[in-house]
């Protein structure tokens, strides 16, 4: 900025705008310990946490009074059951080897798998689908593999699903716990009893999950669409229902209203989506928009206009909307009114609607001509003898509106006119009207002359 001032160059506004996010005040405050450039490297902010603990770097000094040697010594691991003697490097301070268990022994945790006796089995745990042998095998595997059911399922001799195994294990454990407990209250806090394992729910959940995972991209998109539709429908229904019952939805504080609203939401979130209601109908959308606007206590005029425009253009595709906006621009009208008063907004909306009608008509005309021209091209021989009055009037209209048509429709419109005045249609200024004439092909220059 200073250099530009010196040179007398105009300021570059873009680069200034990009820097707007950088806080201006912070660059002034730099700490005194480090130089400005170094501080600027951090982005102008002090680091949240020091990367290296400064204290650790000073430890070298402390140990000068002690003698440190490293020795290759055997050690024993309490986590092992076989008394295997292994060796490792040990830091010996003043010839005193360190005491204590192997430092990693504390991580050797295992699960307490319940052990039941045979009588307990007879009394509480018999099951139709499970033999005692199987249950014993299951529990043995559980102990060996620390309740890792995927492994257990893999190793289990007869094929049972993970959910079945889990179910058996948890129900057995629960039964034993309740049986051994002196009173039911004692064990009711136990997690096994508080949240019992639900087999059917689990199987269902896993099935749904795998289904979701295997969704293709297309399915995902469809899902999103469907959900959006459903949301729109429920909102529309809510708005319409609400506007039909005047006093009730106006308040949000009182309880009876809340209860009512809850009923509405419960009612409308029914899973069935009526495809007819997937509203492409602009009339219904407008009614919805008006209703929802009225629900608001306060809104801006521009917001209201946006909603109405959206409602009106709901049936139109993106391309049509772009064409409407292009037309507005060509007509010299702001896409968003600069002075959005009530009257201006109303006029704007009406204009948009009319442009939509216009575009629709143009499309219709195109289609008709496409249909007709294929027939027309084939028949040259007959002279149609078009009724002079009708076409004369049409020609007059054409001439009056040509400047606009050239602006609005652009090139395409002129071409369309050319097509229309193709063979089989006579009656225009240069050629004498109201006479059966041999159809002749107009060339481009003729028509341009007509229109200029």
């Amino acid at each position: 900025m200073d250099a530009k001032d010196i040179l007398g160059l105009p300021k570059n506004t873009l680069s200034m705008q990009e820097k707007k996010s950088k806080p201006p005040k912070e660059s002034q405050r730099k700490p005194d310990g480090i130089s400005r450039e170094v501080y600027a490297l951090t982005g102008g902010l002090a680091p949240l946490m020091p990367a290296i603990d400064a204290n650790h770097l000073r430890r070298k000094v402390q140990t000068e009074n002690e003698k440190i040697t490293w020795q290759w010594l055997p050690f024993s691991n309490s986590a092992r059951k076989d008394n295997l003697q292994l060796y490792h490097w040990v830091r010996v301070v003043n010839s005193v080897p360190p005491t204590g268990d192997y430092s990693f022994a504390k991580y050797n945790k295992s699960v307490d798998v319940i052990k039941y006796t045979d009588e307990e089995y007879e009394k509480h745990l018999t099951d139709n689908t499970w033999t005692k042998e199987e249950t014993d095998q299951l529990f043995d595997l559980c102990e060996r593999f620390d309740l890792r059911f995927v492994l257990i399922a893999d190793r289990f001799p007869s094929s049972k699903t993970v959910e079945e195994l889990k179910d058996r294990y948890y129900s057995v454990s629960r039964a034993i716990l309740t049986a051994r407990a002196s009173s039911p209250g004692e064990v009711s806090g136990h997690p096994l009893l508080k949240e019992p394992y639900n087999v059917s729910q689990e199987t269902e959940r896993k099935r749904a999950l795998s289904l979701l995972l295997s969704h293709t991209k297309q399915q995902e998109r469809k899902d999103v669409e469907v959900i959006a539709h459903a949301k729109r429908i429920t909102e529309a229904r809510k708005a319409i229902k609400a506007s039909q019952e005047p006093p009730v939805p106006a308040l949000s504080e009182s309880e009876p209203v809340n209860a009512d609203k809850d009923d509405l939401t419960a009612d409308t979130t029914a899973p069935c989506i009526n495809p007819q209601f997937l509203s492409a109908n602009p009339v219904s959308e407008t009614a919805t928009a008006v209703a929802s606007l009225h629900m608001l206590r306060v809104y801006l005029r521009t917001y209201a206009l946006d909603q109405m425009v959206q409602a009106v253009s709901s049936s139109a595709g993106l391309r049509t909307i772009k064409r409407v906006e292009q037309t507005l621009q060509d007509l010299g009208v702001n896409l968003k009114p600069k002075v959005p008063t009530k009257a201006v907004c109303a006029e704007h909306l009406e204009l948009r609607k009319e442009i939509l009608t216009l575009l629709n008509l143009q499309k219709q005309l195109q289609y008709k001509e496409a249909e007709g021209s294929s027939f027309r091209d084939s028949s040259y021989a007959e002279t149609p003898g078009t009724p002079p009055k009708q076409s004369q009037r049409a020609a007059d209209l054409d001439r009056t509106f040509t400047p606009e048509s050239l602006q609005i429709g652009g090139e395409r419109f002129v071409k369309r006119e050319q097509k229309r005045k193709g063979p089989g249609r006579s009656s225009d200024a240069p050629s004498s009207p109201a006479q059966s004439k041999r159809p002749r092909k107009y060339n481009a220059s003729d028509l341009l002359n007509i229109y200029m």
């Binding site: 300021k11 705008q17 820097k19 306060v298 009114p337 600069k338 009319e354 007709g372 049409a394």
Partner: protein
């Protein structure tokens, strides 16, 4: 604790009201602290519009400019006709860029404006809070602060500020009766369905205090007139309508002609 009493259409109780009989919804609201019982009748087919203009004016500081404070700017919300909007708006909260100290600035009384010095452009969030009988919901607006002019043609001048204003109207679709009663003669609001009452004194005896007619910045305020826009819109509509008529004719002509045979003598 809440009671809802619904009265539709014409009710006998309104006989002493004016000849205009808007549909009424009578709602009794009881609040929890007992002593505040607000009787809020809402008028369903009256719409109150408050035209406002909000924006920023930025002056370059010239010789006094520093790297971090190159401009002095003011952000404000005013009535479109420079009338006092304090009757509608209770307070305005401007949310500035977080690099400012206390970026949340509250302005409790008109004129609702805030001046600051800075160097950067950013988006200011403006929240309007209304009086209790007007609306209990706030309205949020956003405005991008502009310090540098569009055309970089000349050097900046300390005399000519960069002004960006936006016109909009706040609409209250079903205002409460009390709000309507006290505001219907106020010059700052637009209330349709009423005969036009011009040049009436405002309810506030110190009417001059809140309006922005004497504001030093008022010389830079843009005058928004809808006439221009209306004219353009009307002209555009005429064009489009004429076009539509023409197309309809063409369509009917084509439809009238049989597509299969072009033999003379067939019906048209």
């Amino acid at each position: 604790m809440a009671e809802i009493v619904e009265i539709d259409g014409q009710s006998e109780r309104n006989t002493n009201e004016s000849t205009l009989k808007p549909q009424r919804i009578k709602i009794t609201r009881g609040s929890d602290d007992g002593d505040k019982k607000i009787l809020q009748t809402r008028l369903k087919d009256v719409e109150i519009g408050v035209p406002i203009v909000y924006g920023t004016i930025a002056f370059w500081l010239g010789r006094k400019a520093s790297e971090t404070q190159s401009h002095r700017w003011t952000v404000y919300v005013r009535g479109a006709t420079n009338e006092d909007i304090g009757a509608v708006i209770k307070r305005v909260v401007f949310q500035l860029h977080p690099s400012f100290e206390n970026p949340v600035r509250v302005v409790e009384s008109p004129p609702f404006e805030l001046s600051e010095c800075g160097w950067g452009e950013f988006e200011i969030a403006i929240s309007l809070f209304f009086h209790n009988d007007v609306c209990d919901k706030q309205l949020d607006l956003y405005h991008h602060l502009k310090l540098y002019a569009e055309d970089e043609s000349g050097p900046q001048s300390t005399k000519r500020p960069v002004v960006v204003e936006t016109y909009n109207e706040i609409v209250f679709p079903d205002p409460s009766e009390s709000f309507y009663a006290r505001i219907q003669k106020h010059p700052a609001v637009i209330v349709p369905r009423l005969p036009v009452m011009l040049n009436l004194a405002t309810e506030d005896p110190n009417g001059k205090k809140g309006d922005s007619k004497d504001n030093p910045l008022s010389q830079w305020f843009i005058n928004f007139s809808e006439a221009d826009e209306l004219l353009k819109l009307a002209a555009a509509r005429q064009q489009v309508q004429a076009h539509i008529i023409k197309l309809r004719r063409q369509l009917s002509v084509i439809d009238g002609l049989p597509l299969q045979s072009w033999k003379p003598g067939s019906n048209y």
